[in-house]
């Protein structure tokens, strides 16, 4: 039994387990220290949790784009973060115009809807152009080739936005109706209205997507193509069209995510999509790439982990200004998931051929 175990795992596995155990111990010990000292009270933890949930739902929406495309083409659409940027950055100019006209103050729901539609349209446009120009000619090429193209497209788009819209950080106009804590059913809730809105809208979008993929005919075609392109084509499914609509669907989710991001963080710039993009990819892998509910859960989990993590275990380890390291936490998570469980928490084991 032990012999069999040893034969199956080589030295590097043990090294990795040691590193993993070390990190786990650091996290547990840090959390214990933080909680034992009692520096933060329950209110702080609750706020962090809610904030994590809100930013996690944004990650989840972006992650859906990665997961949908990966499920069908087995490629990482590295430029998806820029699809996200394209929508929200373009919508910024509409938002400014509406703010000047006083439209946001008077009809904030309508204004928000318009912004979402604009952002969605541009994100979809960019996603479809990407597919048409950069990815479609390379279908069937060795796997690194489309990835390199995607990296190139990602940087091209970032610097194109910078060139066209300028390099400065732009501040989204304020939605006065969304200021302060949430008031509902005559009482005040311990959650900011913006955060509540973000969580609700993201939740609705996810429900819609799940329904679309599982219940509609187009969704069925999508799943068929993901399962087997050739067989799907033989069944009369237009594979190219399904792929385009997959990119479009991912783009639409990214567009909405962009507006929600702008509501949460207020600021946009040409490079804003890159880090959230990688984090959303982490979320997608975490939930098992290619798996739609997995991406949602992965996003929420990553958002919360990133929001609570610095205060919970880095603080306890005595690291100064732990909040600076939140990106490092997300990336460490990425690395660990890819190393220890590349199939994700909910993922099925992809066979080597498929993956």
């Amino acid at each position: 039994m032990l012999n069999k175990f040893l034969r199956k795992h080589d030295t590097t596995d043990f090294v990795m387990w040691l590193i993993g155990l070390g990190l786990l111990f650091a996290v547990l010990y840090g959390s214990y220290r933080t909680l034992a000292v009692g520096k933060y009270d329950a209110g702080v933890w609750r706020d962090l949790l809610i904030f994590g949930l809100a930013q996690g739902s944004v990650y989840a929406l972006i992650a859906l784009g990665y997961t949908l495309v990966y499920g069908i083409l087995f490629m990482i659409n590295f430029a998806h973060g820029e699809v996200f940027t394209g929508g929200v950055f373009t919508a910024y100019f509409v938002a400014i115009a509406m703010d000047k006209a006083g439209f946001i103050d008077d009809h904030w729901v309508l204004a928000l809807l318009i912004l979402m539609v604009v952002a969605m349209s541009f994100s979809i446009l960019i996603a479809i152009l990407l597919e048409r120009i950069a990815y479609r000619p390379l279908r069937g090429a060795p796997r690194l080739v489309p990835l390199i193209t995607a990296i190139g497209a990602s940087f091209f788009l970032q610097y194109a936005y910078r060139g066209i819209y300028g390099s400065g950080v732009k501040t989204y106009p304020d939605f006065p109706a969304l200021d302060g804590k949430l008031h509902l059913f005559g009482s005040e809730w311990p959650i900011l209205t913006t955060q509540a809105l973000v969580i609700v809208v993201a939740g609705l979008m996810m429900v819609f997507l799940y329904w679309y993929v599982q219940k509609t005919k187009a969704g069925k075609a999508m799943r068929a193509v993901a399962e087997d392109k050739e067989a799907a084509a033989l069944m009369g499914i237009d594979v190219d069209r399904v792929i385009v609509s997959t990119f479009a669907l991912g783009g639409a989710m990214a567009g909405v995510a962009g507006i929600l991001y702008a509501l949460l963080f207020k600021q946009v710039n040409a490079f804003m999509g890159f880090i959230p993009g990688i984090k959303a990819f982490t979320a997608a892998v975490l939930g098992g790439i290619g798996n739609v509910p997995g991406a949602m859960l992965g996003g929420l989990f990553l958002g919360i982990f990133e929001s609570i993590g610095p205060s919970l275990f880095l603080d306890g380890l005595g690291i100064p200004s732990p909040y600076q390291l939140k990106d490092a936490i997300a990336f460490t998570m990425l690395v660990l998931v890819l190393i220890f469980r590349p199939t994700g928490i909910m993922g099925e084991r992809l066979s080597e051929k498929k993956a």
Partner: protein
């Protein structure tokens, strides 16, 4: 027939619209205005205008090429003109709109200066629009003619135009380098006006380019073919002579002055990194996006061990710190390599990217600030010296860089055909088959990571010594992408390709200061285009087919015989 006709009209519209959208993009991104101060031909053509009309030219070329296949020559020419006009309409539209409405709130670059450029020197709007359309039509026609010309002529003409463009861009460099040399003054006066080439210079270089390409194209005179017919001794002699000549030229290059040496050392550092990443990505097929981390480790090691400033630890001097830097980078390569051993392809790329970002976040954090200086970096790194000879400026640092390139290049070249090099390539082609053939995956992969990282460490060490101070922002992801771009442009796995790629991608932005703003835009586009059009790069890797063991030995036949055998 009728159907085909319709098809082509729609095609013309499509090509024209693509041309127009590309032209609008180039304008809105700011290139036309940014490049407009750079005259290529004195008082006549600026680089901005070239970029403005380049799209019309290219699209007319492509449209004519596809039209020629199904249509008459006359129709093909009409196509080219129409594509030019349609693409010009887009620009004219922007000119009109930009003058009437303030677009600047959204599109930063639609400035009065830009609109003035788009007026093409005409005062009234109508005349300006007409001028735009006419020039677009002419440019389109030129693109069409190019497509219809026999291949030999068009490539000769293209070479000539490329020479003119290159010489126009190099004016600044040549003037700075040779400006006060007696022999250059009359030459400079002849070929250059105050800004851009003079007409005489333009015609001269056009002629040189055309004639050179014609000469190269004709079989009898081509030097490569002449050498191939010589005896083995003669070939050897020529090889040694050209090698010696090349070395002498390389050793004398810094005498050109500080500015060219500065460019050359920067290019050289990228060549060293490129050679390293070429081993990881090119030979072993492991896409590493966190490569800059090893560069940073090399630089920080030299920085911390040598600085006389705030973080002073030892005073080992550059030459003692150098091997430590290389060794530490190599160890980091192994340590970061172990976790990713089981990963392939795209996941590997993302994990290495994650590593790079983690290191960047850590370096910038308050946590490690007391040791490595956070965002303020490490200052006051003394220059290297041998005895009393100090490598104080770029002209002196050049020799360290050159030494580094020669060393690293030699190692990479020897490794390529060594046992481990062949193992890398087997790994790149198919991991499972490689393992089945008895290649030890763990040691082979770690060897690739370690070698690549060691090269990057060396480059980083030289970089720190060259600059005299290091900051974390010199080590972000963009460096990794730059290095990746240059090996892809040069040709993945190709050693001369790294040099060519670095000269083009790193050297050119140094020559063309305005270009620096669009550097990453250009690299991104280049990565996409290279993958789509020529994934093997400009200087493709030579794959030498070795006869399998047991096969009849090579009889040393002429290349022709070998080619015939292959058929």
């Amino acid at each position: 027939m009728d159907k085909e006709q319709k098809f082509t009209w729609a095609e013309i519209l499509k090509y024209g619209a693509i041309g127009g959208v590309v032209a609008l993009f180039v304008i809105l991104v700011g290139m036309v205005e940014g490049f407009n101060e750079r005259f290529i031909i004195s008082e006549t053509v600026t680089l901005g205008q070239i970029t403005l009309f380049a799209a019309a030219f290219l699209l007319a070329y492509f449209a004519t090429q596809s039209a020629r296949a199904i249509k008459s020559t006359g129709f093909a020419l009409l196509t080219s003109v129409l594509v030019g006009v349609i693409s010009g309409l887009f620009v004219a539209g922007l000119l009109f709109l930009g003058t009437k409405v303030n677009l600047r709130d959204i599109f930063l670059n639609v400035s009065p200066v830009l609109l003035k450029i788009l007026h093409l020197g005409k005062e009234s709007m109508g005349a300006a629009i007409a001028a735009n359309l006419i020039i677009s039509a002419l440019v389109g026609l030129a693109g069409g003619l190019f497509a219809l010309m026999p291949k030999r002529w068009s490539s000769a003409l293209l070479t000539g135009l490329a020479y003119v463009l290159l010489l126009g861009i190099m004016q600044e460099l040549l003037t700075i380098t040779f400006g006060n040399k007696a022999f250059y003054k009359p030459i400079g006066k002849f070929i250059y006006a105050k800004k851009g080439l003079s007409w005489a210079g333009t015609l001269l270089f056009l002629a040189i380019g055309v004639l050179y390409q014609m000469w190269k194209g004709s079989d009898k005179l081509h030097p490569g073919k002449k050498i191939a017919t010589m005896s083995r001794q003669q070939q050897m002699g020529i090889r040694i002579a050209s090698f010696a000549l090349g070395l002498i030229v390389l050793l004398l290059l810094p005498r050109l002055g500080t500015y060219p040496s500065e460019i050359l050392t920067t290019v050289g550092i990228y060549i060293i990194m490129g050679l390293g990443l070429n081993i990881v990505v090119g030979y072993a097929g492991l896409l590493d996006l966190g490569y800059v981390a090893f560069f940073a480790i090399g630089a920080y090691t030299v920085g911390i061990l040598n600085t006389t400033g705030k973080f002073a630890t030892t005073e080992w001097g550059f030459w003692a710190a150098l091997p430590v830097a290389v060794f530490l980078a190599m160890m980091a390569g192994v340590i970061l390599g172990i976790p990713v051993l089981k990963m392939r392809g795209d996941y590997l790329a993302i994990v290495t990217l994650g590593f790079g970002e983690i290191i960047r976040v850590l370096v910038l954090s308050d946590w490690l600030k007391p040791f490595i200086g956070g965002a303020q970096g490490i200052l006051q790194i003394p220059k290297p010296h041998i005895g009393s000879y100090v490598f104080k400026g770029p002209q002196q640092m050049y020799y360290i860089v050159l030494g580094g390139i020669l060393l690293v290049g030699y190692v990479a070249w020897r490794l390529r055909d060594a046992r481990v090099g062949r193992a890398w390539k087997a790994l790149r082609e198919d991991e499972d088959v490689a393992e089945a053939m008895g290649i030890h995956l763990v040691s082979t992969k770690l060897m690739a990571f370690a070698t690549g990282a060691a090269f990057a460490g060396l480059a980083g060490a030289i970089f720190a010594a060259k600059l005299g101070s290091i900051f974390p922002h010199s080590f972000n992801l963009i460096v990794s992408i730059n290095v990746l771009s240059l090996i892809i442009v040069g040709g993945i796995g190709s050693l001369p390709g790294v040099v060519v790629g670095a000269l083009i991608l790193v050297g050119m932005p140094e020559l063309l200061r305005e270009f620096a703003d669009y550097r990453m835009l250009f690299y991104g586009a280049l990565l996409v285009v290279m993958m789509l059009v020529m994934p093997e790069g400009f200087v493709p890797e030579k794959t030498h087919a070795r006869p399998a063991e047991g096969a009849p030995p090579d009889t040393g036949g002429t290349p022709d015989a070998a080619a015939q055998e292959a058929i």
